[in-house]
Amino acid sequence: MKSNMDESVFISTPDHVSLEFELAGPGSRFSAYVIDFIFNVLLIVVIFLVVFLTGGLFTLRSLVTSSQGSSSWSASWILAFLVLVIFLINWGYYIFFEGLWQGSTPGKKRVGIRVIRQDGLPIGWREAALRNLVRAADMLPPPCYLLGGLVMYFDPLGRRLGDMVAGTYVVVEKFALAEQGASGAAWATRVEQGRSRQALTLARGMISAQQIGLIEQFLARGRELSQERRALLVWQIAEPLLSMLGEDRDSLARSADRTERCEQILLQVLDLAQSREPHVAVARKTPQPSSLF
C-alpha cells in the first residue's frame, strides 16, 4: 500500500531560497507517539507516588498534633490538586513539550522528528496548542487514530487534521552534519568560478558531464556501500572510460585489485576534469542515468 505522501517539502523563504525538509512518515510518528504515551503514563505514576508519600506523611503529622479538621482539609485539597494535575498532563503534555522544545517531545526527540511551521520556522505556543487540542478528533475512534491516519494517508504533505489547523508539518530532524564537506566545497568553488561540471575531452574520446557527476557521487559515497556493491559499481562506471584513458580493459578485468585500480583511475579523471580550464561545453544534454544509487 503506497501512500501518496511526498518525501519532502520545499519551503520558499522571503529571499527566494528554497529550503528542503524531509517529511516524517506515519511509522516514525507512530513510534514517537508510543514513546510519548509511555512517558505520559510514567509521569502520572510518579506524581501519584510523590503526592501520596509526602501527603501521607503530612496527614500523619497533623494527626499527631491532633488537629483532625486541618488534616482532612489538606487531604481534600491534595485530592483536588491531583485531579487537576492529571487533567493537565493528559491534555497538556504535548502542548507543554512542543511549546517549550520548539516542536519536539521526548518521543519525537528519540525518533528524530520535530514539528515546524509552514514557513520553516520552529513552532511556538499557538501552534503547539492548536495541533494538540484538536488531537481528540484525529484520535477518533479513540485510541485508533483512524480519522487522523486517513487524513495523513491522503494528504501529500502527511498532515493530520491538527497539523492543518495549526499550519504545521512534521519533519525529520537530521542531527549531525555529514563529515564530508571538502568535496562539496571544492565543487561549489569550481561552480562559482564558472567551471561547473563539464565534459572532459581527451585525445581518444569524451567523458560527459553526467559521467563526471557520477564519478563524484561515487567517490563521495562509495565507502558507505558494501564491498560487493562497490566493486560492481566502480566497474560499471569505469569500464566505458578505460579505452579512452589507454588502459587495457581485459587485463584489468581479470586482475585481483580491480576495484582499487578502478578507483585510482576515477580519481585521476576527476583531477583531470578539475584542473582543466573552462571551455565550451559540448553535448551537455546527453541523456544518462542520473544516479545509480
Partner: protein, 325 residues
Amino acid sequence: MQDAEEKLDQWMRFYRSVQVLLRAGPRALRRLSAAELTRLIDDYQGLTADLARARSFGAARQTVDQLNRIAVAGHNLLYGQIRLREAGATTRWFGRFARAVRAHVWAVALSATMLFGSAVVSFVAIQLDPHLGYDLLDESFLDFDPASKENLHNIPSLARPVISSLIISNNIQVTLLAFGFGLTAGLGTSLLLIFNGIHLGSVAGWMTLHGKQRALWGWIMPHGGTELLAICLAGAAGYLLASAIIAPGQVRRSTALKRVGTDALTIELGCMVMLVIAGFIEGFVSPSQIDYASRIGVLVMSLALWAIYLLSAGRDRTPLVSSDP
C-alpha cells in the same frame, strides 16, 4: 585546493556561529554589532547562493543536504526572531476572546440552537410524557435532590475543593471535545451539544414534574449562566472549524482550517477561563447557604458581566484578519 578550504571554512564558520546564536536565546541578534550582523547576513547569502547552485548544477546529494541544513539553521536564526505583527495582534489579549466571538456570531447562534433547542424540546417532551424520564435520565437523577436552602448538605464543605476541580476538568474536557470534534465536519460537535442539551432539559423537566424545580434552579443558577455560555461558545469554536471543512470557499480545506484556527483557539481558551470561574462558583457558591434571591442575583450579574465583556471588549481596534469574509 586553497579556495575549497576557504569555502568549507566559510560554511562551517557560519554554521557554528548560527548554532551559538540560536542557543543564546531570542535576543541574541540584538546584541551583535553592525559589522558582525552584516557579516552574518553576507555569509547566509553566500551559503544560500551555494545551495541554489548546488541544486541547479546537480551537486552530490550530500553536498545539497549539508548546505540545506546550514541554510535552515541560518533561516531559523535570521527570520525566527522577527515577530511579524499580524493585524489582530494590536488588540491586547484581554479583548481577543470577545472579538473572536463577535466575528463569528453565526457559529454562536448555531451552537446555542443545538444546545438550548434540544434542552427545550426534551423539557417539553417530559412534561407531555413523564414516562420519557425513565429513558432520558440517568438512574441516579431519578431520585436526585438538588442542594437548596432546605437541603444544604449534599456537598459537604470538606469535599468542595475536590468537587470543584472535578467539575472544572470535566467541563473543560467537554468544551475541548466540542471544539476538536468540529473537525468531523461538525458532526461530533452537534452530537455533544445535543446530548448535553437533552441531559439538561430532561433533568429540568423531571424535577419540574416532581415539584423540585425551585431547588434545582436554585442550585443551577449561580454557576449555570457562565457554564452553559462557555459550552455554547466552545460549540461555536467547533462549528468554526467545521465551516472550514464544509465550505472552504476558494482555498483548499487545509488552508481554510489554518485561517480559522487562531480564532477558534482563542474562543476555546476563553471558554476554559470561563469554566474555571464557573467551577469555583459551582464548588463553593452554589452549595453555600445563600438564599434564592441572591442566587438569582449571581446569575443575572454573571450574565450581565459576560454580555458587557463579549459585546464591548477590544472594540476600538482594527478588525481581525480572519474575520474578513
